[in-house]
Symmetry: C2
């Protein structure tokens, strides 16, 4: 990969002639997003912190007579780990706390109302190692842990809802570990948590070694700035998981992730957008940045040699609209915050226009899943026997 | 739109520098497809007929010890209507029969095993008009109609499974109309039919005026060249519809469509691929070509003036693999046939690697749909009251 290559959109913009660019952009990205000016103050802070800041205004839909526009600034933050994975756990975690605190200053400058950090944001994505020690030490209480305390301060200070995906330790439940997103209200209050429903067993994603599938359903959080839900990482490959949050009333579904290039990059631009289209919701898709090296060798069950890194986390975080448009992505190589101004009324407007919920025929699929969940499920299959089958 | 613009891929190929092209292509399209040589004979026939012919070899996965490779050539055909919509119904239909017969000669030359035509291929997409006469006359028996007779001849002659999406009239069932795909085996035999499950009410797609939702479930047809199913047009917006066919064992799901640029073009590259990824199947996505004008004015419920055309059907037919790669699309403006050589064993290999079926947790969604299908369904929603909610 060329060091000059920061992402699809910047390459298209640089190289395509204007008329082609507009057609390619329209087909690949839908209605245009207006890029808004970043304040001098925010720019300066971001430069100092060496991260990108981008603000887009997505199509706002129509103004309605009976409902006021519900304009919300939704943000996603992507970042690399900031210290060596050999440092003590608290040093690693505190450095990430500092990093996010710094980026949140810019979030505040840009008027963000709801922000989501990346999956397991307080730690390197150490699940590739299959080692329990020391990585399990990153797990903390969703309600009272150090990270939740920090997020409560940040949320209150910046009057902003924060979604904070962490490795959770539930002391009340036999010290169980979970992969959990904590939701903090804009008054600095703990609103609730949502656990990862689908756990990967693919490549270096040995997460089933560390925690189990969430059993808390598909909770939606009705905040001051919209009804939000969190589909964590691998759940994005499961259309029914997105559907679950949408059926419960979500308007914005966050997908905090950690995923690497060789495995998933061609899927990244597909799944979050498909979910936005199919469910008439906004989706906000976040991936971490960089290559993480670990102290001890591990293998990847790929026939390759033992090694100490997980591959490149390609960032490229973006926000998708129910109208099938999306923002450009953040860089593949650099920390950043992406802010989208959206009108949440668009969800219902698209629902009225496309009727995807009305035509969903849920009872058909209820009945199918009742059958398909039974042992010995008999498929509806017609064997071609080479003769007319009237 | 520039007249020079034939589609995203040709524009990228023309304008991006080689290193950027390879990265953009990889991120947008996944593993590369090898473009195979078209025989001189096929080329000549296609030139005479003024349509494109493209053959791609998609990544073939791994060879297995216990199963032979199952290499199949899957094809999609896109075309414009060939006569004025003012001609008598039989003239219009017969002209399309002739056109497809011509294109099938090339299909045969390229060694096609399974081919699908576009939605309601024997007629213009007249549902925009809301007129019943004369368009209902296009409806014919799935089992014994003129179109099925033709397809049986073509299937036998070319030793090829044919999926033929038509407007069906079911005389046995009160002269009911349906939007139906007929499956003809490679021995020229009638195998079965599959009816459209989700009917649009959006823009000019007034299809609910003409026919109802299919009640025959999600049938899969186990043919000599793979287990195939058909998700007709608007069904592609419904992830559960794709899932239904996959649960019943489909390896290739066709999506014969008729859709126009202003409405759906940014979704076109998303939905078929998401379905391939989420279900570990191949999907083959077909859209018609050109602008169809109708004798009488109609309105589009968009605040605009009455008019006589449906907008541009943008073609761009393509095939997507369970490994998240896809072929380039056919042109936005020209008839064509696209052939992909695939190894059907890839479906299970991807299932083994990604475990999306194993991690699907169907009983969770069974239970959710049981609740969500009840009147008065109570959403799982947490209200942020501004205070800690432990």
């Amino acid at each position: 990969m060329s060091g000059d290559f920061h992402g699809v959109e910047s390459s298209l913009k640089k190289h395509l002639p204007e008329s082609d660019f507009e057609e390619v952009r329209r087909i690949l990205y839908g209605k245009p997003c207006e890029e808004l000016e970043v304040s001098e103050c925010a720019k300066k802070l971001a430069e100092t912190g060496d991260f990108d800041v981008k603000i887009f205004k997505m199509d706002q839909g129509k103004s309605e007579c009976l409902r006021r526009d519900r304009n919300v600034r939704v943000a996603v933050i992507q970042n690399a780990v900031t210290t060596s994975t050999s440092e003590p756990i608290d040093v690693q975690r505190d450095a990430l706390h500092t990093r996010i605190t710094e980026i949140m200053e810019v979030a505040s400058e840009t008027g963000v109302n709801v922000v989501c950090f990346q999956e397991a944001w307080t730690m390197p994505f150490a699940f590739c190692t299959r080692e329990k020690h020391p990585w399990c030490e990153f797990a903390e209480s969703a309600e009272t842990g150090a990270t939740t305390k920090l997020c409560k301060e940040l949320a209150k200070k910046h009057n902003c809802v924060i979604v904070s995906p962490i490795l959770e330790r539930d002391e009340n439940d036999g010290d169980t570990l979970w992969n959990t997103a904590v939701v903090i209200g804009n008054h600095g209050n703990y609103v609730g948590k949502s656990r990862k429903n689908h756990i990967p067993r693919v490549g270096d994603f040995n997460e089933s070694t560390y925690y189990m599938e969430g059993e808390d359903g598909h909770p939606v959080f009705d905040t001051e700035f919209g009804k939000i839900a969190i589909n964590i990482c691998y759940g994005r490959h499961h259309p029914l998981n997105w559907m679950g949050y949408a059926l419960n009333g979500a308007e914005i579904i966050f997908n905090p992730s950690a995923t690497v290039g060789a495995l998933s990059e061609p899927m990244w631009g597909i799944e979050g957008r498909n979910a936005a289209i199919a469910n008439s919701v906004f989706t906000a898709n976040i991936n971490r940045i960089g290559t993480e090296h670990f102290p001890n060798e591990f293998t990847s069950a790929s026939g390759g040699k033992a090694h100490t890194d997980f591959g490149h986390f390609y960032g490229s975080s973006y926000i998708a609209s129910p109208d099938a448009s999306r923002t450009p992505g953040l860089s593949r190589n650099k920390d950043g915050i992406l802010v989208a101004e959206v009108n949440l009324n668009l969800c219902r407007q698209i629902r009225d226009s496309w009727c995807l919920r009305m035509t969903a025929r849920l009872p058909v699929y209820r009945d199918l899943l009742i059958e398909a969940s039974k042992p010995g499920f008999k498929k509806q299959m017609v064997k071609d026997n080479g003769e007319d089958q009237f």
